[in-house]
């Protein structure tokens, strides 16, 4: 059995074991399903109400994706500016740090105040959550060109654009894709956060409504959906990353091949 397969098997076993332990503990300790429903109950709820849940899933998914795309765009622009220009770095960075330290829960009410409740604050919160890791990674990638290599290229008469195009950008790609998979999960947290506060649609809203109705299995069904979507998005971007920036990880692949 290959190492890779074995690792995946263990991961699957761990998840199964986690659910089994949860189920058994609830049964043994006779925990009320108003406190902690058993996984089987949660999955049953999921199956039974899938029809009503689906539009909410779609809502969360599209607000997340729009917020993510906007966040990536903003992040790439700011990150590139900071990575290329020392002045931009010195002037913009303090502001960015300040902004990123604000808990995003605190900005949702402001977005609601400006744009009303619904999709817009969800998108904006997703954007606000996810652009920072992109900025940091792009800037780091661009700034880590070896000085010797830069000297070699400059002595050949390379312009800044030549260096950026041939060295800076390719070197930044692994950083960029690594940050994408982090950013997409952050965007997801952002949109759900906003939905719980101000929306009548989306998984976040479903969970809020369910908890005020003491429909605890539905709350957990929402949680499971969030976890599943998060994993899905993460895996999707990991696959893209592996395809586009294979050179950064090929070293290990070669040794075992």
């Amino acid at each position: 059995m290959s190492y890779d397969l074995r690792r995946r098997l263990w991961a699957a076993l761990l998840i199964l074991g986690f659910f089994a332990a949860w189920e058994i503990l609830c049964l043994v300790l006779q925990v009320s399903d108003l406190v902690l429903p058993r996984p089987t109950q949660v999955f049953a709820t999921l199956a039974a109400r899938f029809g009503i849940l689906l539009p909410h899933v779609m809502q969360t998914l599209w607000t997340t994706m729009i917020g993510f795309v906007l966040g990536v765009t903003v992040g790439v622009v700011i990150g590139a500016a900071i990575g290329v220009s020392r002045t931009a770095y010195d002037t913009v960075y303090p502001l960015l740090i300040g902004f990123s330290s604000i808990p995003k829960v605190a900005v949702v009410p402001i977005f609601v105040l400006w744009f009303g409740s619904g999709a817009t604050p969800a998108i904006l919160t997703a954007l606000a959550m996810c652009f920072f890791p992109i900025v940091v990674n792009i800037a780091t990638g661009l700034a880590t060109t070896e000085p010797e290599l830069e000297d070699v290229l400059k002595s050949l008469g390379a312009s800044r654009l030549d260096i950026l195009w041939n060295v800076g950008l390719p070197r930044t790609m692994p950083f960029f894709f690594a940050s994408l998979k982090i950013a997409v999960t952050f965007a997801f947290v952002g949109s759900v956060l906003s939905e719980t506060v101000a929306s009548n649609k989306g998984i976040g809203n479903v969970m809020m409504t369910a908890s005020s109705n003491f429909d605890v299995p539905l709350v957990f069904a929402g949680l499971f959906l969030l976890a599943a979507l998060g994993i899905l998005l993460y895996v999707a971007f990991s696959l893209v990353e592996a395809r586009v920036t294979g050179w950064a990880t090929r070293r290990q692949g070669f040794a075992s091949a």
Partner: protein, 284 residues
């Protein structure tokens, strides 16, 4: 040898042309009012096709001279003239190699070596059209000269340190620079690989005859490769000794054990030790 042989008359083109000239070039770093001298007023002339090695105590300004020559740094005072023009003006044909081979990990060795052709005029305008034909053949021929032809399609991490340094030399030479600047290119290699690469470097030079300025800490390396050795004083540096090395070529590692060679080594060593202790006395 007759005198008339040494001085040809009526043939100015045979007189060696000057490839590099530093005249009273000095460099200091730091803010105005709080400057630190890195290089004293230095004069250095390198004839076209010469192989000059620059040795001296650490921190004396060797890399600074190299960066001046490459046009990466402007002298605080004095002038630096390369190929008849003051540097800073673009379009010098220079090749450079450092101790760190800095191959790009996402490109094959072939594409790494080809990189200068993508940047230097006039090659860059033909890059797209010729990268799979003429340029490729050219890279392969050069790689064959250093024994790397089998590795053209490998990635940098598949090569050893010595092999990467060979590829680095190829990248510095692919655009046929008339001036090659080397800053401790073999400094990170083990003794045996280093000696092997001296041989490679020597045959590359004998074949193409570029002007070379080599910085090294290894006096044996300087004696093996150079046709002239300049010794620098401690920081702020200046050239305190300048002597020709005329052992016959091609030189071999065995020759480095000859009495003449050992004597040269000894003399250089004493010069540098003196330079270092002078600096220590001044500092005290």
């Amino acid at each position: 040898m007759s005198r008339s042989h040494a001085i040809p008359q009526g043939h100015p083109s045979i007189a060696p042309s000057i490839a590099v000239e530093l005249s009273q070039a000095a460099v200091s770093f730091g803010k105005p009012g709080k400057t630190v001298a890195a290089l004293q007023e230095t004069n250095l002339r390198i004839a076209a096709g010469e192989f000059v090695a620059l040795v001296g105590p650490s921190g004396c300004g060797k890399s600074t001279i190299l960066r001046l020559t490459a046009g990466l740094l402007n002298p605080t005072r004095g002038a630096v003239i390369v190929g008849g023009r003051e540097v800073g003006a673009k379009a010098l044909r220079i090749g450079m190699a450092f101790q760190n081979p800095t191959m790009l990990p996402w490109l094959t060795i072939e594409r790494n070596v080809m990189l200068p052709l993508k940047i230097v005029r006039p090659f860059r305008s033909d890059y797209r059209a010729k990268r799979r034909t003429e340029f490729r053949d050219r890279v392969h021929a050069l790689l064959a000269d250093v024994g790397l032809d089998k590795f053209a399609n490998h990635y940098p991490w598949q090569l050893s340190g010595g092999m990467l340094q060979r590829a680095n030399l190829c990248r510095a030479l692919i655009h046929e620079p008339s001036l090659l600047l080397l800053d401790e290119p073999f400094g990170a290699l083990d003794q045996f690989t280093r000696e092997e690469l001296w041989g490679t470097m020597q045959s590359l030079w004998l074949k193409r005859k570029p002007t070379v300025l080599l910085i090294t800490h290894d006096l044996k390396e300087a004696g093996f490769l150079a046709s002239r050795i300049c010794v620098m004083s401690a920081r702020p540096g200046r050239i305190i000794d300048d002597s020709a090395v005329d052992f016959p070529r091609p030189r071999t590692v065995d020759m480095t054990f000859d009495a003449d060679f050992v004597a040269l080594n000894q003399r250089l060593r004493d010069l540098i030790i003196d330079a270092r202790s002078d600096a220590a006395i001044q500092g005290a």
